[in-house]
C-alpha cells in the first residue's frame, strides 16, 4: 500500500484504529469500528469525514465567469451573491458526464470548484484544455485539507472551535454558501442529507482541528458511512449513477441543467437538446421489505403501464441503517409501475419503486 497517497489526517486515522482501504489511489478510512454506528452518529448527533482526497481548484482571471458558463452545464450566472454555491455537471460534447462538482462564486474573476478524487486527472486536463482560451489560471489547492462535519448538532459543535469573529461570519449562513473566515473556508454543503459544514483549511492545521472536533464530541466517520448516508439522501455517486456514457437526463440531474438563456452554448448543450425529447430511462429509488441487501449491478424486473415486462439495473444498493432495510438507486425505463422484482441469490424479492430520496434531516421520506 506504499504507493497510495495519504491525507494530512492519516496519522489521526491510524490512531483511531480506522480500517484503511485503497480508494482510487488514496489510503482512506472505511470505518473506525462500525460504519453503522458512524452513520447513526451523523443522523442523530454529529460526525466528521476526512474528504481531503477531493480536489479543490481555484480559478482566477478576468474571464473566469465567461469560461465557467461554457464549461459547466449549470449556469453560474444564477450566482449573484458572493459565496453562493452551485451543483453542476461538466459534460463531454456528446452529453456524457465527465464529473459532478460544486462551484463557489466569489467574484466574476475568482471562483472555486470542488471535484471528485477519482476523476482528478481527467478533470484537470479537461479544464486546462478549455481554460487556455480565456486566460483563466488554474490553481489546484493541494495545500488545503477538507473536513466535512455533518449532523443535527454539527454546526453547534463546530461553533465551539471558532473565534468570535468567525462565529459572527457563519451566523445565519444559508444552505449552499461558502465563506473564507480567518484560516477556514466554511461551506454549508454536504453529502449526507443533514445540516453541517464542509471546511477547507491549510493542511498543517488539519490534525489540530480534527482533534479539537473529537474533543467536542464529533464522531470520526469513514467512507462506508459516507456512502450509506448519501444513498439515503438520494445523492448520486460519480461512476455509479453517472459517468461519461450517461446523460445527466437519465441520472436525475435534469434540474442541474441551465437551459435558459437559450443562447448560452455550454459544452454538451447540443447533444442534450437532441436527447431531451426522447428520454427513455430514469433514476428511481427502490425499497425492499424482506431480508437481504440490494447490490449494485443487479437487474430489476419492472412492469410498464401496459403490463409488459421490462428491465432496469441497480446503480447503488446497500442497507439503510436509518430505515433498517435495504434501499437502492436504479435506472429503469420510463412509465413503470410501483411494484418490481429483484432476484437476490436465486430468490425473487418484491421491491417498491419510490422517488430517489429516502431520508432527509434524520427522517424517513418514503412512506
Amino acid at each position: 500500500m506504499s504507493d497510495l497517497k495519504k491525507t494530512a489526517l492519516y496519522i489521526q486515522h491510524e490512531k483511531n484504529r480506522a480500517l484503511m482501504v485503497d480508494f482510487h489511489g488514496w489510503l482512506m478510512p472505511l470505518h473506525y469500528g462500525s460504519q453503522i454506528n458512524e452513520h447513526h452518529a451523523v443522523r442523530n448527533d454529529a460526525g466528521m469525514f476526512d474528504v481531503s482526497h477531493m480536489t479543490i481548484i481555484d480559478l482566477h482571471g478576468d474571464k473566469t465567469f465567461i469560461f465557467l458558463r461554457e464549461l459547466l452545464a449549470n449556469d453560474v450566472a444564477k450566482l449573484t451573491i458572493p459565496g453562493k454555491a452551485l451543483y453542476s455537471a461538466m459534460l463531454t460534447p456528446e452529453g456524457g458526464v465527465i464529473d459532478d462538482l460544486i462551484v463557489y462564486f466569489f467574484t466574476h474573476k475568482f471562483c472555486r470548484m470542488v471535484v471528485n478524487s477519482a476523476t482528478r486527472e481527467k478533470d484537470l486536463d479537461w479544464i486546462k484544455t478549455h481554460a487556455g482560451r480565456y486566460c483563466v489560471a488554474i490553481d489546484v489547492r493541494d495545500d488545503l485539507s477538507l473536513i466535512a462535519i455533518q449532523g443535527p448538532n454539527a454546526r453547534d459543535k463546530v461553533s465551539q472551535l471558532l473565534t468570535p469573529a468567525q462565529r459572527e461570519d457563519v451566523a445565519g449562513m444559508k444552505p449552499f454558501f461558502g465563506i473564507q473566515t480567518g484560516q477556514l473556508f466554511i461551506a454549508t454543503t454536504g453529502y449526507t442529507g443533514e445540516k453541517g459544514y464542509e471546511i477547507a483549511l491549510p493542511s498543517e492545521l488539519a490534525e489540530d482541528f480534527w482533534q479539537k472536533l473529537e474533543q467536542v464530541g464529533v464522531q470520526c466517520c469513514g467512507l462506508g458511512a459516507r456512502d450509506t448516508l448519501r444513498l439515503e439522501a438520494g445523492m448520486n455517486l460519480y461512476g455509479q449513477e453517472m459517468d461519461e456514457t450517461t446523460s445527466p437526463l437519465i441520472a436525475n440531474m435534469e434540474w442541474t441543467i441551465g437551459w435558459e438563456p437559450q443562447d448560452r452554448d455550454f459544452i454538451g448543450r447540443k447533444a442534450l437538446e437532441k436527447q431531451r425529447n426522447a428520454v427513455s430511462e430514469q433514476l428511481i429509488g427502490l425499497v425492499m421489505q424482506g431480508k437481504g441487501v440490494l447490490r449494485r449491478h443487479l437487474p430489476v424486473i419492472c412492469t410498464d403501464r401496459q403490463g409488459n415486462t421490462c428491465h432496469g439495473v441497480i446503480t447503488s444498493g446497500s442497507f439503510s441503517p436509518t430505515l433498517q432495510r435495504s434501499i437502492a438507486l436504479a435506472r429503469v425505463p420510463m412509465n413503470v409501475v410501483e411494484h418490481a422484482t429483484v432476484v437476490l441469490r436465486g430468490a425473487p424479492q418484491a421491491v417498491r419503486i419510490v422517488k430517489p430520496v429516502f431520508v432527509r434531516n434524520g427522517t424517513s421520506v418514503i412512506d
Partner: protein, 128 residues
C-alpha cells in the same frame, strides 16, 4: 492481530468449531471473518433438524459490504440455531466466539477434531 482462541478449531472458510461433547459442535465465524465483512445486517440461519453435508452451504451472513456463505464444517444434523441473531446480527461483530455463535451440529459419524485447523494453522492462513 486477530483474536484466535486456543480452545477452538478452525476451517479454511473462516468458521470456528467448539467441541461440546457427545458429538455436538458449536459453529460460528471468526473475528477475522467478521472484521473483513464489516457490520452484519441480516443472518440467514440454517434450518433446525436438517441434515447438512460436509462443506455444504448452510447459512448466510449479510453485511453492509457483501453476502457471505457459511459452510457446515462437517456432515450432521443441526440441532440448535442462535435465533438471537435474527434481531441482533451485530452480535457476530461484537462477540464472534460467544454470543455470536450461529448453530450447533451433531456429527453424523465420529470425527477427528484434529482434522480441522489448529489456532496456529489458522493464524498462518490469515497471515498470508
Amino acid at each position: 492481530m486477530s483474536n484466535i482462541p486456543t480452545e477452538l478449531k478452525y476451517t479454511t472458510t473462516h468458521e470456528w468449531l467448539k467441541d461440546e461433547g457427545n458429538g455436538l459442535y458449536r459453529v460460528g465465524i471468526t473475528e477475522h471473518a467478521q472484521s473483513l465483512l464489516g457490520d452484519m445486517v441480516f443472518i440467514d440461519l440454517p434450518e433446525c433438524q436438517r441434515r447438512y453435508g460436509e462443506n455444504e452451504e448452510c447459512a448466510t451472513a449479510e453485511s453492509v459490504k457483501a453476502a457471505s456463505d457459511i459452510y457446515s464444517p462437517l456432515s450432521g444434523e443441526v440441532v440448535e440455531v442462535n435465533t438471537r441473531l435474527e434481531d441482533a446480527p451485530e452480535l457476530i461483530n461484537h462477540s464472534p466466539y460467544d454470543e455470536g455463535w450461529i448453530f450447533v451440529i451433531k456429527a453424523s459419524e465420529s470425527l477427528q477434531f484434529d482434522d480441522f485447523l489448529s489456532p496456529q494453522e489458522y493464524q498462518t492462513l490469515i497471515a498470508d
